[in-house]
Symmetry: D2
């Protein structure tokens, strides 16, 4: 079983993650981890911090000569802007953000104590962890990718870019829809035997838990609601040398909570960033008088980055499901077990 | 922390669930549990089994004089149709169902070995557990409800009913969209401090893990994708005697992974049932030759029931989050802790 | 990962357990489960209840034609003496028992609300679960046994029996030391990579969690405290056809938190039963005046039974560790993975 | 719920730990953390590394102005001797160590890949985490301490020191028995309702999981085996102003898996260190020929340090149990809940 804990505040010393359960004997190329961190910072509509931070992960444990030892891997990404104790206090919660609920929950008197952790900066850790999981998945020829489907209701590259430019001009923000796909998954990950073992549920939790994500769907998703069963279920065929196959993939690669061997297709909606340069109505929590919401340095649109974070969340779930099915100690052993299974079901 | 395990096959002796972590001193009215089981069996478009089974829960542990003892509660719902070992074998997997993936995963040679557990019958256990959680939530004035928003693309009572009748006539099936709402939640459940503590992610897992659910959204959900931030974030106000308040609830009651005190609003899509009376193309797994999919006794439309199951899944997550925040031993103690908190944040 | 939840009160309807994570394709012989339940009831020094209860498990889920389906197994053992709601209230806590601490923790006013769950009767569930795990372990030639080492300081069969007879005569109780052994474990279960993965720690938790157990040791145990390292560490040799071997087994089969291929040897102390027929000083919790402790029907000595329960606790941990290392879906697949590993390390 | 993951190799860059679940508003004095790290390095019989390493923790997350934010705390302790990739390979496993079992389990060809993580150096992380937990426990007036009871069978300060000197002279190692005590625990931590909730079992796992620990006992421990129940159970009394009280504490503060309000008393045996300067018989794993075991820089006796590590393991379990019972968000809230409970049960 793969476990991870992430830590770190937006303007703290560093973002840190420990990944426990990665098997021994996996070659880790730090460049690939850093490429993923770079991908997370990209996309049109990003703010100045993305120029300020040039995230680079350091690995503090779990490796010798770039090979995993079976022991926990620690990733540490320094914050260039380490200033948490010098920053001004924040008193006007941003609508859409954890600010107000976090303040009340924890009994704070300064919203900074919420926003430093409830920050999309924390997704650096997820992407680092996800990068390690992708390297593992790569050994099983599982490839994960993402793409933007729409931004602010627009769905062509040009119109999406225009929409983001408009949002920048208006000091507003804009969200959108992205898709994550995973090719090469074996049939049989996840299970229907207990609710919390279902692969779709685990993916849903991982992706909805990314800051700003408000919807999740698998395959045809809510599109299933408008059709008859006969129109949407993926009929089953068999061909010599290819085994069982489908001509459609409305299920998005999961049936009954289990991967069915087809491509995994997930979609999610990233809401517009909650920090607006043209702030919304709020209340000063000290006086309870009307006030404009706090303005923090922020981005205008992060749908592309959200896709990268979602790939990572997805990679963690899939790597975990592979370890669960095929064992957990060394890459060689797990690959051998995997191959025996693939051979058996072919 | 609340834990549960459910068990039982569709035509086994019984459906069983153990709920661990319910505090001492809660009065359990078995009638309420059975009412929920009844609600799960209702709705236009249900098949004959729903008439056959008149589910009644028995409580085998955890109670004395209808008061919880703090020890695990066991629910047992007998299957009237206990025949698992006499039923015919199944060789043609149903598209959309766990049949094929489950067979390959577990190395079975008879699809019955999959479908007996990968059956919506298992949701009886979830509803029973959910009913217990609702009784607990009721002590905190949290009320959960659900309603159908659309069936097969239709969204008025009459047109939905017509669509289901059409599906019955066509020996087809049809899905739809339902909504779950929870009123009375305190601000501060769930957290942003670690991904797996976010309330939205936990709700997503719980609801996507219900058989047949293919999408999940919170509040405005994918509707966030078409607007500017300034149009959709719920501005914050304050009024004497009422505290912080909002005029809109696009967030659906969750900001930053925490309940924000507004009504919880979730939506999900239930796909058309995978068992069609007019079966789809499939393959006989013994011969690998084309075949029509297996036909099991089934329903035509279960969107209303799926809503009831989703209420239950939601109730479990919310009860767990309350215990996490306010302690875990006796109802009286938890309520006292809850009241102190509410008083402090007011 | 193997999970279980147990439930049931001493005079409730039944003792119930759900075991989640057992792979598909394992043949379950209910006779073997019942034999284990019988073994738990045996031993000189048992009270009348053991004659009253003739425990027989029923399996309510997870099986078809005696083969596991990969789905959760439910064991249900009826209580012949189902009377929880008719029994008298208890007001004088027994020293050594959960009575007083449980009452205060949960805010009860009647000690019966504690003692019904905090009863050794709950170990019926553990033994049932353990029996299922033993059947699984048997497939890997792992055999678990236990024996009494001493009772009341006596360590020959005759003197132990005399000591128990003396305790009966004195209306007193007596404890002792037992040993659990597991033969046939492969090298490599558990791990040093994270504290909670260590096999010895997991076994310690499982065994110390049995009611009445106050000490736990592995191999030489506290005997390690009186020797130099050179006298007690098990030197390593190698012989053709046999592989690595030891001439001693002070480590008791675990080094560095991992099984090392030698016999697992554990020892534990079961304290004298807390219910004395000649009751100890206590206090009436309603009046806070001195009183003699409550007298419940009970046993005089249960060291032998405690050994059986400890075997079961041990079986659960070992089965879990095997699934963790070798995968989790079907017995055939796990056995194939196991054999490949054994071959590789030979 | 408190969670932690630790990471780091003996000669890696650093030892790292993330502690998740500590409430907001707790003042952390880093000096106290470093004092605990210092205590771990002390004791007669320690080797040269203890002089080389002067462990100092840095906190990378979870704090602002020394107050916890409710977010995960990261401790990082740099290894002065960061050389993992330059160190020689090791081929002769040390009897008593994870060396051989770890090598086979993970399929390594160099024992260094085992010993770098399976090293007592990892206990630095545990002590750091434990120090944070002690600061939390201190707010509830819970104080944890430890002391050596015996070394190599000797139990006076002078004879213990002589025994260690003898071991140094003989190039041997020596173990011993230590005791951990916790004063000030409230009645009601842990529970009998499910095996894995018992406080004694959780403490046993935590302490047996410390490298080198081979036995664990609570209170009178194995001493219970030689007496009648009437001689050892702690009779219950009541006195005005003091509430329920005992004249003896054989139970060691736990009855029925729950803290009973008396002092917690635990004992454990630390075996002699497995690395001997006068190495034992072993086998070269490349040639399978006889060889002397590897010699690594090491200590002669670490019983005192093991006591400090066990205090830490204990602190983690107790802090977790307090959060479980009294809630989890802010120190102020938890303390208020705690006080209400104490008042109620008085």
């Amino acid at each position: 079983m793969l476990r991870c804990l992430t830590a770190g505040e937006s303007h703290g010393r560093a973002i840190v993650a420990i990944l426990e359960g990665m098997p021994a004997g996996l070659k880790i190329d730090l460049l690939k981890v850093n490429q993923e961190l770079k991908r997370r910072q990209a996309g049109f509509g990003r703010g100045k911090r993305m120029q300020l931070e040039n995230d680079r992960a350091e690995i503090f444990s779990g490796l010798k000569n770039n090979l995993t030892l079976g022991s926990p891997l620690t990733l540490l990404i320094k914050n260039n802007d380490f200033s948490i104790e010098k920053l001004y206090k924040v008193f006007s919660p941003r609508p859409g953000h954890a600010d107000l609920a976090g303040l009340l929950k924890y009994g704070f008197t300064d919203i900074r104590e919420v926003l430093e952790r409830a920050s999309a900066r924390s997704t650096v850790a997820s992407v680092g962890i996800g990068a390690l999981c992708k390297i593992f998945l790569n050994e099983f020829n599982v490839r994960i990718s993402s793409r933007i489907l729409s931004v602010g209701g627009e769905n062509t590259p040009g119109s999406m870019r225009d929409k983001i430019s408009e949002a920048i001009r208006l000091k507003d923000t804009v969200g959108g829809i992205f898709e994550v796909r995973a090719k090469g998954l074996p049939v049989g990950l996840g299970s229907y035997v207990q609710a919390d073992k279902r692969l779709d549920g685990r993916l849903a939790q991982a992706i909805i838990s990314i800051p700003g994500i408000k919807s999740f769907e698998v395959g045809l998703g809510s599109g299933y609601a408008i059709s008859f069963g006969s129109e949407v279920h993926d009929e089953i065929y068999h061909a010599k040398g290819k085994g069982y196959l489908r001509k459609t993939n409305n299920a998005g690669g999961i049936e009954g909570g289990i991967s069915n061997g087809e491509e995994l297709v997930l979609r999610a909606c990233m809401k517009p960033i909650s920090t607006l340069m043209k702030p919304l109505d709020s209340v000063n929590i000290k006086t309870n008088k009307s006030s404009k919401a706090a303005v923090e340095r922020s981005d205008t649109c992060v749908v592309e980055a959200a896709g990268v974070v979602a790939e990572s969340a997805c990679a963690f779930v899939l790597a975990d499901a592979i370890l669960e099915k095929f064992g957990s100690d060394s890459l060689r052993e797990i690959k051998a077990n995997y191959k025996s299974y693939i051979k058996r079901i072919s």
